[in-house]
Structures are given as structure tokens and as C-alpha cells.
Symmetry: C2
Subunit: 105 residues, 2 copies
């Protein structure tokens, strides 16, 4: 995939968090997720895939296992396989995330 300004690919929906796919293969995918204030991806688990979440703009909260952490632009979080995780936009601005996840093998 040629160089792409990831943040400009963000999309939003008043109904729920919006996912835009940039790249997909049998090994991994790359998405841009757009969350309006108050929106969230509920806590869930991938038993056999690692997920990397890079905050591109806005602010939010990630859940990793039993802990919560604030995220800000430029910060990278990794959710390893088997660990419960989630993210929510508790701020006043749009939250844009670059998300990469491996595929189960």
C-alpha cells in the first residue's frame, strides 16, 4: 500500500464506532477507527491475535486486562492475544485510531 495519510481516512457514524480498512491479507489487517465522543469498542478478547492501537488524534481510555489507561496522540498500545481489552472516547473531540491486528494462524 502506497504512503497514505492515515488520519485523513477516518470516518464517523452517529450510530457506532466506524471502521475503515486500509490493508488486508491472510497475515494481518490495518484499519482506521473513528469514535465520536461517548462511543466505545467494548471489552473483548482475541485468543490468538495481537492488536496494536496507535492514537492519531483525540483522547480516550484503553482497558487492558483489569487496568485502564488514558491515551493521547502519538501513543501506541499493544493488546496481546488472550488479554481482555477495549477503548472508549471519553473526551470532547473525535478519537482517531490506527489499528493493526494479526490474523489467527
Amino acid at each position: 500500500m502506497n504512503p497514505t495519510d492515515a488520519r485523513s481516512r477516518a470516518a464517523f457514524s452517529p450510530e457506532k464506532m466506524k471502521k475503515e480498512n486500509l490493508f488486508d491479507s491472510p497475515r494481518m489487517f490495518v484499519d482506521v477507527h473513528g469514535l465520536l465522543p461517548g462511543q466505545a469498542q467494548k471489552v473483548h478478547v482475541h485468543d490468538d491475535a495481537d492488536k496494536v492501537v496507535h492514537c492519531l488524534s483525540g483522547e480516550g481510555i484503553v482497558t487492558i486486562g483489569d487496568a485502564e489507561h488514558p491515551i493521547r496522540p502519538g501513543e501506541v498500545t499493544v493488546f496481546p492475544a488472550g488479554l481482555a481489552h477495549g477503548v472508549r472516547n471519553d473526551g470532547a473531540e473525535k478519537l482517531v485510531l490506527l489499528v493493526m491486528m494479526t490474523r489467527p494462524t
Copy 2:
């Protein structure tokens, strides 16, 4: 991995491009690469791994197959398995890249 400011983890060496590892698993790794002006990662191929390169600061040139493209902060490039690729810092500033690559299965 808890939220981490990726750019602040960049390191540099006058000898060659410097790699700092942030996360490693049987499925993938996350690195920060620091390239001083004039430094490069030569064109090479991974037959069975996809690589994502996110430019965090500085400017450079990526090679994808037979094509070259400039990269700027915020731009994401994907090098799919099997495609020759490389990157070089042809600018005047330090180049910092967030690099995620899948592991061969």
C-alpha cells in the same frame, strides 16, 4: 504493552539505522526505527511477512517494488509479503518510523 509515546523511544547511531523494540511475540513485533540523514534500510524482501511503516517525524523515501514514494509524518505504508522494499532518509532531519511486522507462520 501500556500506552507508550512511540516517537520518544527513537534512538540513533552514527554507524547505521537504529532499531528499538517495543513489543515482540510469536505473531508480530513493534519497533521504532531511527535514521539519521543519509541512512537507509536497503531494499530487501520478506517472503512470508507483511510490514507496516508509519512515519512519525522527518521525511524520507520508501521503495516498493520498482517505485519510490516520499513519506511524511502521519503517512502509513504497507510492504506486503514478497515485495521488495526499503526506506532511506534523504532529508535534513532525523527520520523516525513506527514499524510493525508479522512473523512467518
